[in-house]
């Protein structure tokens, strides 16, 4: 019989086995973030041309490992923890098949370690994308495959838990919006992992000599159904976490369940098409295919993100106005808890994801504009805005929430936690903006030496490009510092944070359940539907969240202007067709 404990601070119910699995997955994620962060420093300090720290072979090795650890291992471990939280904890249900969940976790660990070992051995510096026919060691691919299978098991445990919760009637009505968003992430993850299997398994067979040829273009097209879609899991997951955070911090309710869920549905239908963004200047792919896919079928997935961009802060604004912060357009925002890293982390992630990550992503995913951006350092700048700030900072903010609730520890060095989102978001924003600039000047991504030392022919980038790479480097170092602050707080909290009742010792912080006496509930009471509101109107003219509407219009103006600038820039280059 499953046993639950209730968190006295938050009121969340934790199933014993789900709780342990959330802890180990979150901790494993943080360990891979640590590795990725250390490696990031090597990348930044090499691309900063005046420092140029690492030799070429080590640079490419470090860059390969940085990409995989940050973009795959860190986020997916953390997302598995989120899936278990959104199903078992939010629905007050026991977790389905905990034995399978542990097996999945073990596979993910084995796979992640195996892949890192392959890169560390030095014969697999093929970048995260591992484009054929450049070949890595067989255990490079095998590690990724095992990791993917483990993650897939996690997805099915999540789905199984939804079924159990429904059968056991642990909740009334429909699943909460946050769980709905997590389900979106799960569905996208299954698609992603299937694509990964379709291409990585033959590639593994090719690396051991069983298959003699893999078409390089086919690899790119299918690989990106893994590579880009895995980032769409992040989008669905972090948007869900945004809804969770505004619910917990502000008692916010979605402005409209229908609109928010419809936006998630659009993600399921159309977000996958984004893998085309990487194929826009490739041979052998038709123009029609490129236009339809790169636009996610007429930008319906972008529409979904623009909807969340209104409804997430809008829901927060409505809740804040309900508490009396009604002065002017922005009192609700000014009076937000800026000193709480859960809020500041969430809000910076939202703004930077939308204003920088979203806009640059759509612009460079425009078929023709991609000609002036493809494979320049503009591309990593874009996805650091989406993943390194949007997703990672959201997960950091969520961690500050989970440390007391899930790990039963008080935050260690709370003043460091308080500053962390500012340092991380500030540093990363500097890095991102300047790398976007350098990319516009033609600086390549994945390139060891912008001086082209040893080349038979010479080329010099303008001095501005060097300046931008240097300032970007300073921003990146600040970002790494922000990442280190996060890890100091989390690791410190698990080791030295003040124990909360029911209390957790050292091992209980990692994966072992709390003392048996804490689990004194067989089955929590059925989760009730949210209380109905008496219809009240805040704001004016039927606009409940006028401040958010102004912010959304500001986003649109930036979007339109920046989009136009890029077409203008494109029109200035050599005519081609």
């Amino acid at each position: 019989m499953a046993k639950f404990r209730v968190c006295p601070d938050s009121g969340f119910y934790f199933d014993k086995s789900a709780e342990s699995l959330m802890k180990v997955n979150a901790v494993a994620g943080a360990v891979f973030l640590l590795i990725a962060g250390i490696l990031a420093l090597g990348v930044i300090l090499t691309r900063w041309q005046e420092v140029h720290l690492l030799p070429a072979d080590l640079f490419y090795q470090v860059l390969t490992a940085h990409g995989i650890n940050a973009l795959i291992f860190w986020v997916i471990f953390f997302e598995i923890a989120i899936l278990y939280f959104a199903s078992s904890t939010l629905l007050r249900s026991r977790l389905a098949a905990p034995g399978w969940a542990w097996a999945g976790f073990a596979l993910m660990i084995i796979g992640a370690v195996m892949n890192n070992v392959a890169v560390l051995q030095g014969n697999s510096s093929v970048m995260m994308t591992s484009y054929v026919p450049m070949q890595a060691a067989p255990h490079f691919y095998l590690g990724l495959i095992l990791f993917a299978v483990g993650a897939l098991i996690g997805c099915f445990v999540f789905l199984g838990t939804l079924v159990i919760a429904k059968d056991d009637q642990t909740y009334q009505g429909s699943v909460p919006l946050v769980t709905f968003g997590a389900l979106t992430a799960c569905i996208i993850a299954i698609f992603t992992i299937a694509s990964g299997a379709i291409i990585l398994f033959p590639t593994f067979l090719w690396s051991i000599g069983y298959i003699n040829h893999i078409d390089a273009e086919m690899y790119r097209i299918i690989w990106w159904a893994l590579g880009h879609s895995s980032q769409q899991i992040n989008v669905a997951a972090h948007v869900s976490v945004w809804y969770l955070i505004i619910g917990i911090l502000f008692n916010a309710r979605p402005m409209s369940e229908k609109v928010s869920r419809f936006a998630f549905l659009l993600y399921i239908f159309f977000l996958q098409l984004a893998s085309a963004h990487h194929i826009l200047v490739d041979p052998g792919v038709s123009t029609e295919w490129k236009i339809f896919n790169t636009s996610y079928a007429m930008y319906l997935a972008v529409l979904a993100s623009m909807i969340h961009g209104l409804t997430v802060p809008g829901a927060m604004e409505v809740a804040q106005r309900g508490k009396g912060y009604t002065k002017g357009l922005f009192e609700w925002l000014r009076k937000a808890p800026w000193g709480n890293p859960v809020f500041s982390g969430f809000f910076f992630a939202l703004v930077i994801f939308g204003f920088i990550g979203g806009i640059t992503g759509v612009v460079m995913g425009t078929e023709q504009i991609n000609l002036i951006i493809h494979n320049t350092i503009y591309v990593p700048a874009h996805f650091h805005a989406t993943v390194a700030v949007g997703t990672t900072l959201t997960f950091m903010a969520l961690t500050y929430l989970l440390i007391p609730v899930l790990f039963r520890r008080a935050l260690f060095l709370p003043w460091v936690a308080k500053m962390q989102p500012y340092v991380f978001a500030g540093g990363m924003t500097i890095m991102i903006l300047f790398l976007l600039g350098a990319g516009t000047l033609g600086v390549s991504r994945r390139h060891w030496d912008m001086d082209f030392t040893g080349a038979a022919l010479s080329f010099e980038y303008p001095g501005t490009a060097y300046m931008m790479m240097a300032v970007g480097g300073i921003g990146g170092v600040l970002g790494v510092l922000g990442g280190a602050m996060y890890l100091v707080v989390t690791v410190g909290s698990l080791l030295f944070g003040k124990k909360l009742e029911p209390s957790a010792g050292l091992f209980q912080s990692f994966g072992v359940p709390l003392a048996a006496s804490a689990y004194n509930i067989d089955q929590p009471d059925q989760l009730q539907m949210a209380p109905k509101l008496a219809v009240e109107e805040h704001g004016s003219g039927g606009f409940e969240a006028p401040g958010t509407f102004v912010l959304a219009l500001a986003l649109l103006v930036c979007f339109v202007v920046y989009y136009a600038i890029n077409w203008d820039y494109l029109a200035s280059v050599w005519p081609m067709g």
Binding site: G173, K258, V302, L303, L371, G442, G454, A455, G542, W567
Partner: protein
């Protein structure tokens, strides 16, 4: 708090949507459609588009076409690099291949003339990154891509490789010269 609780209304999909969301969704949808139609529009009225002309090939076949092209139109050898400089007639088919770690040959073109540029790779993926114009194309082994280009300014242009291709990636630099006619 209902973001993580079941919706307050059992039949939540029948709750009317507020005016603010409807206005915003309408504006956003219009913008999305404008962005969508901008791409086909540019194919008709814009000057910078990527053709989808491409052929499957292999290293021997493509290498042979490039050699024939070089033998036919070579005018000199670049002293610095030892790479042949080729001056093809205006408006002709021109070739450039990427291999570890070289762009071959060096092209000498005339301003405002249109050429059919055939691009291919002899080994791994390469990235054709024309600087300082900043035109970037993916060069994939097994495929021959044909793009019509019209250099509209005279000068010396550099082809940088911007797809990672191993340890000598950063030494992979080629040239295109554009002369006034």
């Amino acid at each position: 708090m209902s973001s993580f609780l079941p919706p307050a209304d059992r039949i939540w999909w029948k709750v009317p949507v507020g005016r603010q969301e409807i206005v915003w969704i309408s504006i956003a949808l219009v913008w999305c459609l404008i962005m969508f139609f901008m791409m086909p529009y540019w194919h008709v009225y814009g000057k910078q588009n990527l053709s989808s002309e491409a052929y499957q090939t292999n290293a021997e076949k493509f290498g042979a076409s490039v050699e024939t092209f070089v033998e036919k139109y070579q005018t000199r050898i670049d002293e610095q690099s030892g790479i042949p400089v080729v001056t093809p007639p205006a408006g002709s088919d021109i070739y450039m291949l990427g291999r570890l770690w070289q762009w071959y040959p060096i092209l000498e073109l005339e301003k405002d003339k249109t050429y059919r540029l055939h691009l291919g790779s002899m080994d791994w993926n390469h990235g054709f990154s024309l600087q300082p114009v900043n035109i970037n194309l993916q060069v994939v082994p097994g495929y021959e891509m044909v793009i019509k280009i019209t250099p509209d300014q005279a000068g010396e242009y550099t082809v940088v490789c911007n797809e990672f291709c191993g340890i000598g990636h950063h030494t992979m630099v080629g040239k295109i010269y554009v002369k006034e006619n």
